[in-house]
């Protein structure tokens, strides 16, 4: 952890020194262009945080940049003067942008909004902004711009201010994306649904991020107008917003460095070449963009980095160094002190889960029809039935209160109608999906960390090396052999290992009702037995209520206390294991095939 801060401090110091020294080697013209590019790069960083890390494609960051430009310009042109008032205007600009950003986020990030929807909302925003400026007449300067009485600073001073600001924002962004909370951003990009089922309020997180990124873009705009001494509507229009996306994509999204270098590179070269070859230059940028999208879809910087690392490896010595480094950073898991003996809730005897007349239709297809079901603590309820009987749909109706078409579902006595998955998690329900659902781009440890974030909020600046997990989750990690693989990306795990990881993730939520959809599919017999013992233990010692879908009747027999047979959306049998498992009905519809 200390090493991380030391690294950040060293790099920051080196960059600051380079910044301080560069005016002595750069001429005024170069400094002028670079100062402008630095301000733009700050806005590009916010695009990268939103799009590269969190997966929210936004064309609207220019509007927030524009809010910064015009708030300060209007303030200085009509109302205030002096350095203190200017600082005040900048703060107001950031606050206004944050408000607008939060509003846009609120509109764009409701549950189940598709990513395209977000792109369209953010595309509309700069259009609206430009219209407002253009229709402002003499007050906003309309299309001819608004000159302001800005303080006079030399080009060299502006170079330092813009560079310093960029460095500050870049370091801040770096700290965020490498922090524990930064892992959550990536998790949202990778699989937002899984995040919701881990109890994370992803919409709120995205709205908060949007507000912060808007404020930062406005900060860049506010300083930029002081530097440019005139406001113009094209700093808030949609083509500027799109350019930011292009710079980010060219440099390499999700890398921070890529968008910064992309912005600086394109702006610098286009200023130098654009003077001599104005049209050819635009054509060249267009071609470069197409080439990068086709041949280096990751962007230029990641392609360079992977090329370099390949080169270094071919020189032959890195393997051992990489290994050595991963040992230094060895992650570890700790058991959470088990204080939840007291947390065992009062309603120990009543059913923790109750379904009354639950039905579900997809159009004309009736998937569930009048299902009544109860489950108590310490019970393992096996749900069997042929393919298409509605088993997964039944679990879905318990994990998401918006799923059922009619009927009522109660968890711990509370009705869940209309509650989204993240609220159901808060009531104690957690669901393991049928196909393993982990975050492929994150390491095993980070997947567990994201799963744990609902209980222990993740820090937006610290990067912890250790993670405390509740006993059962830790046990699941141990028996499935994941312990030595904590630093591997989850995407590299085999199918079975992903199954085990997802089980550990849902157990990290400390649920009272655990929904398992074929938890042992794709596992070998021994792995199956290991998971089986974990599950039995959960019901016995931790008094969890387990609902388990399984096709493997032997496995069901081994761990269930009760068995439910579902067929064509209805419960046909519900009773103690021994009675139901050996019934004629199970044999005919399930093993024999045709009812």
């Amino acid at each position: 952890m200390a090493a991380r801060w030391q690294g950040i401090l060293t790099v920051t110091t080196l960059l600051a020194a380079a910044l301080a020294a560069s005016p002595s080697v750069l001429d005024d013209y170069a400094q002028q262009i670079l100062a402008q590019a630095f301000f733009f790069a700050i806005a590009a960083i916010t695009v990268d945080l939103l799009w590269g890390y969190t997966g929210v494609l936004t064309f609207g960051q220019s509007a927030f940049f524009g809010i910064g430009v015009y708030t300060v310009a209007l303030a200085l042109a009509y109302y205030v003067e002096g350095p203190l008032a200017t600082a005040g205007a900048i703060v107001v600009a950031m606050a206004a942008a944050a408000l607008v950003g939060a509003g846009v986020g609120w509109l764009a990030f409701f549950d189940r909004a598709s990513p395209i929807y977000v792109a369209i909302v953010t595309l509309a925003l700069p259009v609206v902004f430009t219209q407002i400026i253009l229709s402002g007449g003499a007050y906003t300067g309309s299309s001819s711009g608004l000159p302001i009485p800005a303080p006079f600073l030399s080009v060299g001073q502006w170079f330092w201010i813009s560079g310093g600001l960029l460095l500050l924002v870049a370091v801040g962004a770096y700290v965020l994306v490498t922090s524990d909370a930064g892992r959550i951003l990536v998790a949202i990009r990778e699989n937002e649904d899984r995040c919701r089922y881990l109890g994370l309020r992803t919409s709120r997180l995205k709205i908060a991020l949007m507000a912060v990124c808007s404020a930062v873009a406005a900060l860049a705009g506010a300083f930029y107008v002081l530097f440019a001494t005139a406001a113009a509507h094209n700093y808030g229009d949609f083509s500027f917003g799109t350019e930011m996306v292009v710079w980010t994509a060219l440099g390499g999204r999700g890398t921070l460095v890529g968008p910064i270098l992309g912005t600086i590179g394109i702006n610098y070269v286009s200023a130098v070449l654009g003077g001599n070859l104005p049209f050819v230059w635009l054509l060249f940028v267009g071609f470069a963009f197409v080439l990068v999208v086709v041949y280096l879809p990751q962007g230029v910087v990641p392609a360079l980095v992977s090329g370099m690392s390949r080169l270094v490896r071919s020189l032959g010595e890195t393997r051992s160094r990489i290994l050595a480094r991963s040992v230094v950073h060895a992650a570890s898991l700790r058991a959470l002190p088990s204080a939840n003996g007291a947390a065992t809730t009062p309603s120990e005897d009543g059913p923790v889960l109750e379904l009354r007349g639950v039905s579900k239709r997809f159009g004309s297809l009736q998937v569930l029809e009048g299902v009544n079901l109860e489950a108590r603590r310490g019970e393992v309820v096996g749900i069997v039935g042929p393919n298409g009987a509605g088993k997964t749909t039944l679990l879905r109706c318990i994990a998401d209160g918006r799923e059922q078409s009619s009927g009522e579902v109660r968890v711990g006595g509370r009705r869940i109608d209309g509650l989204p998955p993240q609220e159901c998690v808060a009531l104690g329900v957690s669901r393991k999906f049928q196909t393993p659902n982990v975050f492929d781009a994150l390491t095993v440890l980070d997947c567990l960390r994201v799963a744990r974030a609902y209980r222990t909020p993740a820090s937006p600046w610290r990067r912890s090396r250790t993670l405390e997990l509740p006993g059962p989750a830790l046990h699941a990690v141990e028996v499935s052999g994941l312990l030595p693989r904590l630093n591997e990306p989850a995407g590299h795990l085999s199918h079975g290992a992903k199954q085990a990881l997802e089980l550990a993730m849902v157990l990290a939520l400390e649920p009272t009702v655990l929904l398992l959809d074929e938890p042992t599919a794709g596992l070998t017999r021994d792995e199956r037995a290991a998971i089986g013992s974990v599950l039995r233990e959960l019901a016995r010692s931790h008094r969890l209520s387990l609902l388990l879908i399984e096709h493997d009747l032997d496995f069901v027999r081994e761990i269930s206390t009760r068995l439910v047979v579902l067929h064509q959306g209805k419960i046909l049998l519900d009773g103690p294991l021994a009675e139901v498992a050996d019934s004629e009905l199970v044999r005919t519809i399930y093993i024999g095939g045709k009812p």
Binding site: G385, P386, N387, G388, A389, S494, A497, T524, Y590
Partner: protein
Amino acid sequence: MIAIQALEGGYGESPVLRGVALDVSRGEIFAILGKNGMGKTTLLKTLMGLLPAKKGRVELLGQDVTGWPPYRITRLGVSYVPQEKSIFQDLTVEENLRLALRDGASFDARLEMIASWFPVLKARLQQRAGTLSGGEQKMLLIGRALLTRPRLILVDEITEGLQPAMITTLTEVLAEERRAHRLTVVLVEQNVGFALALADRYAVLKGGAVVETGRASEAGAREHVERYLVI
């Protein structure tokens, strides 16, 4: 039919396959077994061109396909049934099936063939594939793969999530296709019982290499294989 020599490959920098060598002949049903994480899925994906082969050679249906993109391998007459349910969620069942064929003329006849194996698919022809249950999606996957009358089919854990009766049907379907059209089948399986009942020969992968091959009908084959599956 299939000849794999000294094949190495994997994801990114981490090697998974470390020198796999295998030969499968035409009309054979071949099972690839082993614990999780031993490279079974990686092997199928590398054969199919979905992952790059770092070293070695892959020959399918008499052609050296090393380095070929997946679509060219498909056009040779190779079908792949991945473990993930990679169907087009927003298209109907029928559209999912139609997409597999490059010419539509034979669709109706082939559809009847699929329907005789999996009646539920025919009943749901106009339904959005994403609304099928997990097991039904598996049926759609295998149906779509067989619709093209492939010469070679690579199947990754098809029995996962299927009810026992459906596994029996599947055994019959694959055996019949092999008998009637000399289809070659390569199976990756955790369900050792199913795999050995259907396959002619098997190989066990461990640490990214073949450590054992044998005939599925040999006495004690199952015990033999399961030795390798113990943790």
